[in-house]
């Protein structure tokens, strides 16, 4: 996935669409951030630490699970997967890092090890009071209290599209494409979603073209040359996320470095 921050206005449609599609639990007070459960966080960032009025800017960064891969794409080891004692989270053939709510025992190791704070813990049982229950999506199960949940790139929509395709006689299910809820909802088309393994996909062509604007969230080795990168990868496992961001603003890229 690629997200063009220059196009994002911070309207919030992606966050709300994600919550609707993925049966986000409704609690007593969902504005309470430490206790909140959501998959997509709309982060507001500004460069006002280094700049003074009026040389400041603000920008929104929609942040969900970055679908990490680890150092070796053939043997993907995202930080969260390697720590799970019950294999509740794993990487599928499609590269999506899955999470099975009902298998999760709530140890929260994965949440602690995720460098992007992409995971949330259900402290309570969700309350879908009154008719709110009516709008729940049957393709996404309701998480119990005491489990960790996260974005899975709406992979249930892929299954939906696959079933539709199969019904229409399509045999090659690898050819099935789909659009995650956040991507579909964005009024400015800031998201591009596609297959990173297919060099002809719109996504790959975009990333190829936008070399100067693209970056990944706090991923320091991206700036190093190939040799150093390889050396570092022997020492440590890097998250290597599959979500790319595009921006023309140098300060945003600067902010994404560890300093």
């Amino acid at each position: 996935m690629a997200i063009d921050l220059d196009k994002c206005t911070g309207c919030g449609a992606c966050a709300i669409a994600c919550a609707q599609e993925n049966n986000m639990p409704i609690f007593e007070d969902d504005s309470d951030i430490p206790k909140r459960v959501s998959f997509l966080e709309l982060m507001k960032v500004t460069n006002d630490r280094d700049a003074k009025y009026p040389d400041v800017e603000v920008c929104y960064i929609p942040k969900m699970c970055q679908q990490c891969e680890g150092n070796d794409p053939k043997n993907p080891k995202p930080p969260c997967v390697s720590v799970c004692p019950v294999v509740a989270t794993d990487v599928g053939d499609d590269g999506i890092v899955s999470q099975v709510w009902s298998r999760c025992i709530g140890c929260r190791y994965c949440q602690a090890s995720c460098p992007y704070e992409a995971r949330a813990f259900n402290w309570w049982k969700p309350r879908y009071e009154g008719d709110f229950k009516n709008s729940l999506n049957p393709e996404v199960s309701i998480a119990s209290r005491g489990t960790v949940v996260k974005c899975q790139f709406c992979s249930h929509i892929w299954k939906r599209e696959r079933d539709r395709a199969v019904e229409n006689g399509v045999l090659d299910i690898n050819a099935v494409t789909y659009t995650p809820a956040c991507v579909a909802s964005c009024p400015t088309k800031a998201f591009v979603f596609g297959d990173l393994n297919d060099p002809d996909s719109e996504l790959c062509r975009l990333l190829e073209k936008e070399k100067d604007r693209k970056f990944r969230l706090v991923h320091t080795i991206d700036e190093k040359d190939e040799k150093t990168r390889e050396k570092l990868m022997h020492i440590k496992n890097f998250p290597n996320p599959k979500v790319y961001y595009l921006t023309s603003k140098a300060w945003i890229r600067e902010m994404m470095r560890f300093k």
Binding site: D6, K7, T9, G10, C11, G12, A13, A15, I16, A17, A19, Q20, M24, I26, D29, D30, S31, D32, I33, R36, S38, L42, M43, K44, T46, D48, A51, K52, Y53, P54, V56, E57, V58, C59, Y60, S102, R103, K125, P126, Y128, E129, G130, D131, F132, K133, N134, S135, L136, N137, P138, S141, I142, S144, R145, A181, A184, S185, P187, T188, K189
Partner: protein, 655 residues
């Protein structure tokens, strides 16, 4: 044959049990079993399945009429999908449709006014509710006091047009609209401005946060995608570095509240190029605002102002946009005129005045005509709240108690009148209603394209039908309502028509400028400026009833019961305020307490930015008692043309 011994038998039995156990473990059954156990012990809800289908409708919230597709599972609507990516607000529709506190039947007050408890109301039938109200209306009109019936609408739509007509036919001139971009420009210019954002090459926005909920958001978003492709230039004037200001090609960081002065300064430069608009008196005012004087008042540089004026004059099809804010707009009529004059001066084809064709003038009965002669005229809603009076008030989807700077004054008047609130959720104003009429979400309403995709919720009906139903029961009015239901009008209502020319009122401009001068003077008592900001999805308050909106609010706006305001760093230093500190903000009108200070240089020096949309007294358990409502202390000088309080800029101090 070998005899099976007891030992072997045990072995075989043991093996079978072991094998069975192994099979059981590997089959995944224990996991499933555990899952069922969890679901059962936690009483976990499993959404029922059903056949999938998609229903189509049009979103008629704006002239763009986006096509919407609703994903259905059986009878349940589970997702809104827009076919050509438009509006960010459509996503909330299901949370309204299935809201836990949606009003399911007409309510009649039984308890004290102003109480939050649902027990303050009882459910009644539509017949008895309409009957009771019509009896009161008949009596009032019969006494030639129809002018004491008033109405407040939120948007310009069909139900509002029907309410306007009902009031007129009753002999009342008190049909008002909540201050909004459309109502303010209409009052100031005689028509709303239809901007051609798709074909302009230069946009000069005077505080209009075009990409943060302003105007019709889906049209704006779509235009924005185009601007980037076509190289349309956006110049944004604002005190706060908002997202619109960050996206803009150029940002003019102006001193709060001085946008009108900048417009006059640019007009002054255009005039020297031989362009004019407005009469002699108007241009005389323009003459006074030389670039130097403008720079001094606005805090911008002479060079900046000249550059912008030149670029504006040179552009092929430039537009100057008035209407400060996002969803909640506050601009004085003088400012709206001064900005619109720039369009006239350069002969912009991209800013055309329009009006919405109404339902025509109703015939007046003798009683109605007599009461109309008695009617006092008010320029707009806040003027009416402050100076008007009424015995029956209809509130059509609006929430003036919450949104108006005169909320407290209104509260007193609502106590003694018969108040009918039309709304799907119990908002702050409805707390004072004698009757609450449950109305529909747009998914349940017929559109010009066809019938509604979903059935109305329980006993809720279209606001237009409630008004038609009531009008038909009032003797002096029923003749003006030949329709059976709102659907009779859906196809024809709402066509835009041309509006006349603008009357550039120099007197209003002069009065505004002299009062602005007073406001701007640094006062010992109130050294700081308070200006509003909004989160697009919260807007000026409408979003807060929805849990998924609450989930999206950032930590430096509202979290854990604390509302944050943004203060410039140096200013905070000077005032001795540190990050996260609890402060009180006081204006000449009063105080809002216990907000947290967030120090940031996205805000101009000597300025505090306060989020709108928080501090509801009602509007469901999700919105209630979250933060404070800054309108309580915001400026409330009433504009002579719009009749609205100009609350944008308020002088305050902190403690």
């Amino acid at each position: 044959m070998k005899k099976i011994e007891r030992k072997d038998f045990l072995k075989i039995g043991g093996g079978a049990v072991l094998g069975g156990l192994t099979g059981y473990v590997f089959s995944g059954a224990p996991f499933l079993g555990m899952q069922w156990l969890f679901e059962w012990t936690q009483d976990q809800h499993v959404p029922p399945g059903g056949s999938e289908s998609y229903l189509k409708t049009l979103c008629e919230a704006c002239p763009d009429k986006c096509e919407m597709s609703i994903r259905m599972i059986g009878e349940r609507a589970v997702k809104i999908e827009t076919s050509h990516s438009g509006c960010p607000f459509g996503q909330n529709a299901l949370q309204l449709l299935y809201h836990a506190e949606r009003i399911d039947a007409p309510l009649k007050r039984t308890g004290k006014k102003g109480t939050v408890k649902a027990s303050a109301f009882e459910r009644v039938s539509w017949e008895s509710a309409l009957k009771d109200i019509s009896v009161r209306m008949n009596k009032l009109i019969g006494e030639k006091k129809g002018h004491l019936i008033a109405g407040i609408n939120k948007d310009y739509n069909l139900s509002a047009a029907l309410l306007d007509r009902m009031l007129k036919a009753a002999g009342s001139s008190s049909a008002f609209y909540e201050p909004s971009l459309k109502s303010l420009t209409q009052a100031a210019l005689g028509g709303y401005v239809d901007y051609d954002f798709a074909n302009t090459d230069y946009i000069l926005s005077f505080g209009a946060r075009l990409l943060e909920g302003w105007g019709s958001p889906c049209a704006m978003n779509r235009a924005f995608v185009d601007w980037k492709k076509k190289g349309t230039k956006l110049v944004h004037v604002d005190t706060i570095r908002t997202r619109t200001a960050s996206i803009a090609d150029q940002w003019l960081p102006i001193k709060p509240g001085t946008e009108a002065v900048l417009a006059l300064g640019i007009a002054n430069i255009l005039k020297r190029m031989g362009r004019a608009a407005g009469g002699y008196d108007w241009m005389a005012v323009v003459n006074a605002y030389t670039p130097e004087k403008t720079a001094e008042i606005t805090g911008l540089q002479v060079k900046q102002i000249e550059e912008v004026a030149n670029a504006f004059a040179r552009a092929r099809n430039p537009i100057a946009v008035a209407g400060r804010g996002g969803k909640g707009v506050s601009s004085s009529s003088a400012e709206i005129m001064a900005v619109y004059a720039l369009n006239a001066m350069v002969g912009s084809r991209g800013a055309v005045l329009k009006r919405t064709a109404g339902l025509g003038e109703p015939a007046l009965s003798a009683n109605a005509a007599a009461s109309l002669r008695e009617a006092k005229r008010h320029a707009g809603l806040d003027d009416f709240i402050k100076n008007g009076n009424f015995e029956i008030l209809f509130v059509n989807e609006a929430d003036p108690l919450y949104k108006s700077a005169y909320g407290a004054e209104l509260e007193g008047k609502l106590e003694t009148a018969l108040v009918v609130a039309v709304t799907p959720l119990l908002n702050d104003t409805a707390l004072y209603a004698d009757y609450v009429f449950p109305s529909l979400s747009f998914l349940e309403a017929d559109t010009s394209a066809g019938s509604a995709p979903l059935k109305p919720y329980r006993k809720a009906i279209h606001a237009g039908d409630a008004i038609i139903g009531l009008a038909k029961m009032v003797d002096d009015i029923k003749g003006s309502f030949p329709w059976n239901a709102y659907v009779d009008l859906v196809k024809t209502y709402g066509a835009p028509i041309g509006a006349g020319g603008v009357n550039y009122n120099a007197q209003v401009l002069k009065e505004f400028l002299s009062s602005l001068e007073k406001t701007l003077k640094a006062s010992e008592e109130f050294p700081l400026s308070l200006v509003p900001v909004e989160l697009t999805f919260v807007g000026d308050g409408d979003g807060l009833a929805f849990p998924f909106v609450l989930k999206s609010i950032d930590e430096k706006t509202y979290s854990q019961g604390k509302l944050w305001v943004q203060i410039n760093r140096d200013t905070a230093d000077r005032e001795g305020v540190s990050e996260g500190e609890r402060i009180d903000i006081e204006s000449s009108r009063g105080e809002i307490g216990s907000v947290r200070a967030h120090l940031t240089d996205t805000v101009a020096p000597d300025t505090i930015a306060v989020p709108l949309g928080f501090g509801h007294k009602a509007y469901t358990r999700y919105a209630r008692d979250k933060g404070v409502n800054p309108k309580e202390i915001m400026a409330n000088d009433i504009d002579p043309l719009t009749g609205a309080a100009n609350w944008w800029l308020t002088r305050v101090k902190i403690s």
